[in-house]
């Protein structure tokens, strides 16, 4: 086992915690419709999981992405949001009107929930990429 900064205990604890933190982040995003939570909070929770790995393994963190990858990922989140908004515009409805995702006029609420879930995903991706990028930059990593 890669022991990180020399402690088996720290490495093992991080290994056990990491998947549960990811699961909780996804739960907070998806369950945001029924309980406190949503894209912003879920993105920060994803960042917390990655920071845990960084604290234990430092530069040897196996999942550590490059700065360019994080910038592209942040861009991707904004694009997801924008494209979901554009679907409505292309079907001649107001921007971000999620009722354009269906053709029926009944039970629009369920479809609109999927629209907001989609944009929450976009927000999650952007918030995760940006906050993790800021963490990496503040720690003193330079882009090569």
């Amino acid at each position: 086992m890669n022991k990180g900064f020399g402690s088996t205990l720290l490495a093992l604890t991080a290994r056990i915690h990491f998947p549960f933190m990811l699961l909780f982040a996804i739960y907070v995003v998806i369950h945001g419709h029924y309980s406190p939570g949503g894209g912003f909070q879920g993105g920060i929770l994803l960042t917390m999981a990655m920071i845990l790995l960084d604290l234990i393994w430092g530069a040897k963190n196996p999942l550590r992405p490059s700065h360019a990858f994080l910038v592209v990922m942040g861009c991707l989140g904004v694009c997801v949001y924008f494209l979901i908004g554009m679907i409505a515009l292309l079907r001649s409805k107001p921007f971000l009107d999620y009722s354009a995702l269906t053709t029926s006029t009944e039970a629009v609420g369920h479809v609109r929930a999927f629209g907001s879930l989609g944009i929450e995903m976009g927000v999650t991706i952007t918030v995760f990429a940006t906050s993790y990028l800021i963490y990496q930059v503040l720690r003193g990593d330079h882009s090569s």
Binding site: G39, H67, G109, R112, A113, V123, T130, S131, L133, S143
Partner: protein, 92 residues
């Protein structure tokens, strides 16, 4: 100069304390400014219209989706600025 600073502080303090009396008491929804405009609509119709049981999510992601779009872009720009200010090596 010091006297002027103290005077300004006293005036601001008086304004703040006079506002405290007008803060709505806890749980008194009728005194909240937006109660007579959009709040009843969100509370009564948001589940049916947006499919979200949580008012906050309904407002954030659906009714005010354009706002959240702007927020996302602002956060992304903050990351870009942090990268461009701190993430580049100095040219010596």
């Amino acid at each position: 100069m010091k006297i002027a600073a103290h005077l300004i502080l006293i005036v601001i303090g008086c304004v703040f304390f006079s506002f405290v009396a007008h803060i709505p008491t806890l749980g008194n929804v009728k005194k909240v400014a937006s109660f007579h405009h959009v709040s009843p609509r969100y509370i009564e119709k948001s589940h049916e219209e947006t499919g979200a049981a949580n008012y906050v999510t309904a407002v954030l992601a659906d009714y005010r989706g354009f706002d959240t779009f702007g927020e996302t872009i602002v956060i992304f720009c903050a990351g870009l600025v942090a990268l461009s200010l701190l993430g580049v090596k100095d040219h010596e």
